[in-house]
C-alpha cells in the first residue's frame, strides 16, 4: 500500500444540529421571509443542506427598522464597557461551538476542514476578542475624542470566508456602537444563521444584529435603504463599483473590500523551500477563493525553471477532495457558476498560448471541482495575468531586476496584496515601499490578524478592516460644536480641531 494515500479521516458531522429550514433573523427572532425560499447545498456533493428564507425589500426594511430601533433605544445608550462584554461573550461562544461552526462552514462552503478549523473559526473568535476590548476605548481610535457611532450599518459579505467576513464586519461595528443588518452570500448562509443562534445565546439586545439571507436583490435593497448610515461590502469589484455609484450623493459612509490580482515576487536570494510553501499558500489556500491571493507569481528569471520544477513536485503532494476529510488540502469550488468562470478563464489562458499544468489527481464525480493548476509562459498582457480568476489557478511570469518586478507587480488596476521573498532585508523594505498594495507579506503569505489593517489600493476598494483603522471605519468625529473649530483658525486651534 501507499502510505501517502492516507486512509480517510473524515471529521464527524454528528455535532451539527442543523434545522431543516432557516428564517431571517430580525429583531432577535427567526422569522419567515416574504420571497420564495432557496436551498443551500454542499458544493462537494451538490446535496441539499437546508432551506433558506429569501428577504424581500419589505423584509430588509423590517430588519433596518429593527436595527434603527435597537440603536435608538438600547445599543447607543449602553456603555462601551457593556458593549465590550457582549462581544467578549460572543467570542467565547464562538470558541465553545468552534468545531460545529467549522464543520458547518466546510459543508456549506466546500473549504477543507483543516482551514475552517485552524484558520477561519479561530480568527472569528480572535476578531470578536480584539474588538470587544476596543468598545470602551473609542477615544483612541484615531478620530478624536468622544467619537460617535454612525448608526445602522448595512453589511454584505462574500462566500469565500462566510463566517470570518461576518466577524470582520460585525465585531468592529458593534464595538463602535452601531447596530447591523448583514446579508451573507447566497451560496453560504449557514454559519451566519448559526451565528444568529450565538447572538441569542449571548443575550444581545434584540435588533442589534439582524441577518437577512437572499441573493443580489436583497443586498441591493439593503445597501440602498435610506435609513442606513454605513455600508460595508466585501466582494467583486464590479458590484463594489455599482454600490459606489448608487451611494453617490448620500452621506452613507462606505468601505469596500474588492478584488485583487496579487503579485507574489520571488527573488533569487529567497529562502527557497519557504517560498515554495508561500506560493502554495498564496494561491491554493481556500481553493484560491481569496481576494488577496498571490495569483500572479513573479519569479526572478535565473531561478524560474528551478522554482517551477520544485513547485510541481510540491503540488504532487496536495490532496484534493472531501472538504470534511482532515487531510484535504484543497476542497471544492464553491459553486457551479464559479467553477464555470475558472474553467473559462483557464481555457482562455491556454488559448492565449500559456502552458497549463496540473498534478495528477482524482476528482470526485459529484460536486464542483477544479484541480490545482499552474500556467507558465504567461505574458503580462494575457487575461490570466490580469483578470481575477478566484480559483486555484496560478499564472507564472518572470522578471530580471527588482525594478522590473516592481513595475510588473504594480501593473494592474487592483492593489490589494503582494508577497516578497528574499533573504535580504534591505531589498524587502525597499520593494515593499514601492508596491502599490494594501497588504504586503514578506517571506510569508495570506496571514491575517484582527490587529492588522487589511484593504486595498485602487480598484481593490477603499477603507481598511482590522486594527484601529477598521474601528474608525464605523465611527464619526464628535458632533460639530463639541470640539473647538471656530474660525479664524489659528494654527494651535487647527491642531485641536484636527479631526473634522
Amino acid at each position: 500500500m501507499s502510505f501517502l494515500e492516507y486512509a480517510p479521516a473524515p471529521e464527524s458531522t454528528a455535532l451539527l444540529n442543523l434545522q431543516s429550514e432557516y428564517g431571517l433573523f430580525i429583531n432577535g427572532e427567526f422569522v419567515a421571509g416574504s420571497d420564495p425560499t432557496f436551498s443551500t447545498i454542499s458544493p462537494a456533493t451538490e446535496k441539499h443542506i437546508a432551506t433558506i428564507a429569501q428577504a424581500s425589500s419589505a423584509d430588509v426594511d423590517a430588519a433596518v427598522k429593527a436595527a434603527r430601533t435597537a440603536y435608538d433605544t438600547t445599543w447607543s445608550r449602553l456603555s462601551g464597557r457593556d458593549r465590550g462584554k457582549y462581544l467578549f461573550r460572543i467570542a467565547r461562544l464562538v470558541q465553545e461551538r468552534a468545531r460545529e461552526l467549522a464543520v458547518a462552514e466546510s459543508l456549506d462552503n466546500g473549504k477543507p476542514i483543516k482551514e475552517s478549523r485552524d484558520v477561519d473559526v479561530p480568527l472569528v473568535a480572535a476578531w470578536f476578542f480584539y474588538y470587544a476590548g476596543w468598545a470602551d476605548k473609542l477615544d483612541h481610535a484615531g478620530v478624536g475624542p468622544n467619537p460617535r457611532a454612525l448608526g445602522v450599518a448595512a453589511q454584505v459579505i462574500p462566500w469565500n470566508f462566510p463566517l470570518l467576513m461576518l466577524a470582520w464586519k460585525i465585531a468592529p461595528a458593534l464595538a463602535a456602537g452601531n447596530t447591523v443588518v448583514l446579508k451573507p452570500a447566497e451560496t453560504t448562509p449557514l454559519t451566519a444563521l448559526l451565528f444568529a443562534e450565538i447572538v441569542q445565546q449571548a443575550g444581545l439586545p434584540a435588533g442589534v444584529v439582524n441577518i437577512v439571507t437572499g441573493a443580489g436583490e436583497t443586498g441591493r435593497a439593503l445597501v440602498n435603504h435610506p435609513d442606513v448610515n454605513k455600508v460595508a461590502f466585501t466582494g467583486s469589484t464590479s458590484v463594489g463599483r455599482e454600490i459606489a455609484r448608487s451611494l453617490a450623493g448620500t452621506s452613507k459612509k462606505l468601505t469596500l473590500e474588492l478584488g485583487g490580482k496579487g503579485a507574489n515576487i520571488v527573488f533569487d536570494d529567497a529562502p527557497i523551500d519557504q517560498a515554495i510553501e508561500g506560493i502554495v499558500r498564496g494561491i491554493f489556500f481556500n481553493q484560491g477563493h481569496v481576494c488577496c491571493a498571490g495569483s500572479r507569481l513573479l519569479v526572478q528569471e535565473n531561478i524560474h525553471d528551478e522554482v517551477v520544477e520544485r513547485l510541481k513536485t510540491r503540488l504532487g503532494t496536495l490532496r484534493v477532495g472531501d472538504p470534511l476529510d482532515k487531510n484535504t488540502d484543497v476542497g471544492a469550488i464553491n459553486s457551479a457558476e464559479q467553477l464555470q468562470r475558472i474553467r473559462t478563464l483557464s481555457d482562455i489562458g491556454e488559448a492565449e498560448g500559456a502552458e497549463r499544468w496540473s498534478p495528477a489527481c482524482d476528482l470526485p464525480e459529484n460536486g464542483f471541482w477544479f484541480a490545482p493548476t499552474i500556467f507558465t509562459n504567461v505574458s503580462t498582457s494575457s487575461r490570466i495575468a490580469r483578470d481575477e480568476i478566484f480559483g486555484p489557478v496560478l499564472s507564472i511570469l518572470s522578471f530580471r531586476t527588482p525594478a522590473e518586478a516592481i513595475a510588473k507587480a504594480n501593473n494592474t488596476p487592483y492593489g490589494l496584496s503582494a508577497g516578497i521573498w528574499s533573504d535580504k532585508g534591505s531589498k524587502i523594505l525597499a520593494v515593499a515601499d514601492k508596491l502599490r498594495a494594501g497588504v504586503i507579506w514578506a517571506n510569508t503569505f495570506n496571514q491575517f490578524d484582527p490587529s492588522s489593517p487589511f484593504g486595498g489600493y485602487k480598484e481593490s476598494g477603499y477603507g481598511r478592516e482590522g486594527g484601529k483603522q477598521g474601528l474608525a471605519a464605523y465611527l464619526a468625529p464628535a458632533a460639530f460644536g463639541s470640539s473647538p473649530t471656530a474660525l479664524p483658525v489659528s494654527t494651535s486651534s487647527a491642531l485641536e480641531g484636527a479631526d473634522k
Partner: protein, 347 residues
Amino acid sequence: MTTEQAVRPDSAVTKDHAVSPASRAVEVLGGELTEQSLKRYLAGIPGVDAVGLHARAADLGSRSIKTTSKAWALDRIISLIDLTTLEGADTPGKVRSLVAKGLTPDAGDLSCPRVAAVCVYGDMVPAAVEALGVFHGENVEGGINVAAVATAFPSGRASLAVKLADTADAVAAGADEIDMVIDRGAFLSGRYGQVFDEIVAVKEACRRVDGSYAHLKVILETGELNTYDNVRRASWLAILAGGDFIKTSTGKVAPAATLPVTLLMLEVVRDWHRLTGEKIGVKPAGGIRTSKDAIKYLVTVAETAGEEWLQPHLFRFGASSLLNDVLLQRQKLASGHYSGADYVTID
C-alpha cells in the same frame, strides 16, 4: 611563514587550505577543493526562514493518520528504530536486554517487526554482537545492525587520532554503523575545512579489512548549531564529505530532534537527490517518545523526500522509549481497547 603568522594573526583565516578530495565534493564543486571553495559553496545555499519552516512542519504534523494507514505506520516506525542505550551506566547485561527487546519487541505478538538496529557506545559493540548472534546484520534474514557512537561522543572534544581510533575500534568489533559527531566548535568558528576533513577521515576509518565500509551517520548536534542556516550548511557539508546519513542530535543536548529541523534535513537530502540522484539517509534522534510524534515524522518524510525514504537504509529514529509507546498503540489497534504500561516490557 611563522614570522608572517606572528605579524598577521588572521592569516590562518584569510589563507586558503586544500581539503580532502572527497569524491562527492569533487564532483559537485569541481576543481581543486579548498577551504575557500567549500565556504563559498556553502554560502551560496539558499537561506531558511524559520517561521515558514515551523509553519510547514506544523502543517505536516496536523495530518490525521487513521485505521489502515496507522497500522502500517506503527509497524514501519518499529522497523526504523535504532533502539538506543547511551548511558555511563551501560553494562553488557543491559545491552543484552536491549538486543532481546530489539529482536522481539512484543513477546505477545510475534508478527511485530524487529527494530533496524541497536545503538550503543563503542565498548558495548562486542556485547551487542554476541547477543545478536545469528541475527547480527541487515543482510541476514531477520537480522538487525549494531550501531556505535564514536569520535568522542557526545562532545567530540578529542584529538582526531583519538576519534579515528574510537571509530576503527568499533568497526573492528563488528559495528555495522558508526554515528560520529562533527566538531561543532570548528563549524561555528568557520573552520568548515576542518569539519570536512574530519568526516572524510572518519569515513576512511569505517573501512573494514575486506574493503567494505560501515555506514557513517554524521551527527550535526543541531541544538548546538542553533540556527537553521547552520543546520542546512552542516547537512550539505556532511553529505559532501561522504556521510551516508545525516543525524540531528546526540540526545545529550536540548533541543534534540524536532520536526522542523528534521524537515529541513529532509529537504537537503531531497535536494541532494535532485542534484546527483544519490539517496542520503536522515536520522532524527532524541526526544521522540510517542507514536503520535513518530507518525508526524513519517508524514514529513513521505511528503518531503518521498515515500521511498521510509526504509531502514534511508530513515531511522534514534530512540529508546518510543518503542514501547508504539507497542501500546499497536495493541490498542489489535484489541480495540487501550493497553497499559505493564503489558509491554521494559528493557
